[in-house]
Symmetry: C2
Subunit: 222 residues, 2 copies
Amino acid sequence: MLTQRLQQALGYTFIRADLLTQALTHRSYGSVNNERLEFLGDSVLNCTVARTLYDAFPDLPEGSLSRLRANLVRQETLADIAAGLRLGDSLRLGEGELKSGGFRRPSILADALESLFGAVFLDAGFDAAQGVVRGLFDPLVAKIDPKASGKDPKTQLQEMLQSRRLPLPDYRLVDTEGEAHDQSFIVECVLAKPVINTRGVGKSRRAAEQEAARQACEQLQK
Amino acid sequence: MLTQRLQQALGYTFIRADLLTQALTHRSYGSVNNERLEFLGDSVLNCTVARTLYDAFPDLPEGSLSRLRANLVRQETLADIAAGLRLGDSLRLGEGELKSGGFRRPSILADALESLFGAVFLDAGFDAAQGVVRGLFDPLVAKIDPKASGKDPKTQLQEMLQSRRLPLPDYRLVDTEGEAHDQSFIVECVLAKPVINTRGVGKSRRAAEQEAARQACEQLQK
């Protein structure tokens, strides 16, 4: 069963199977759906990630913790985690969403993942939900460079260039792909000195810019 | 001792007294202060209030839950609760803040209250923090009219008037009191039909308008 594989991937087995089902039900499917669970799960996620960062970075001020959290809980990150769990395979979607590939849409995946956190909170309490969240997010927290302080790649790149008195980058939209409801943006990040040219792809123009900036940061650090 | 009375009012006794002290220390006092605890406590508050509302209003959609929560956790409400706990008496403030009456400032009180929630979370876990939050917020949740769906008084008043095809209210700033760092605003809410005239006082113009609107709603419902 797909939901059994999902529970294994989460490292959590639901006591109340109806909560799991509800968490996987998009509003397009019916009136009993995951929207209320998402509200709850969003707050569980924010609280557990806050605690994780508080413990992991005892020297960072609250502004940095807040930026780090915003990076960790944003839609792209959640959708990536959901994709890794193959959450889309277990979603219950209405016919329209099914046909238009809703099981791949980042917003639907991210919302369902948050709903799962809310469902675990209801099913077995906060500590159980915290365990599931940490299982998924601890690997990401371990990769954080506290010196970057959770700044997004575009900000990091700008600050790196400014500190070396180099000209600022130029972002150019190269292309868009796919249909309106499922578009991808391709953006180029161009540095004049040193000459660096990177490309990012993302579900929004901003996401594509950030990805291009991240690659430029990497090249600049070499 | 003041902090003993505070712990009694909270219904919670700290295991680690240093956490309590830190939660009561404003940044003006020194470098070990409550700013990081506030970051943590804000997320504990949001999560516990989300759960309380989720359980209390099983029929409300997530948008309404979200509005209700925003009303409950806003600065004015937190500052009121903090004032009820006489939290200001236990605050540790720098000299400048002491002289300018920082122990009465809503933002400082609200932040310290959130910090306390964060400190309890660290001291004894989520369920203990949830217990403290619920002790303070359950009476407010019990007073909520789910039909109002957490809309603020100005929105409620406007909708009541529109549904009766009556003219919209007029808000007038009548006066301001106090010095710049501790001002109060007095706003009048004037309805032309039926003739209703109410006054609200608040620490911001918006808060005063909301209070005047709340009173107008009450009179209109009679």
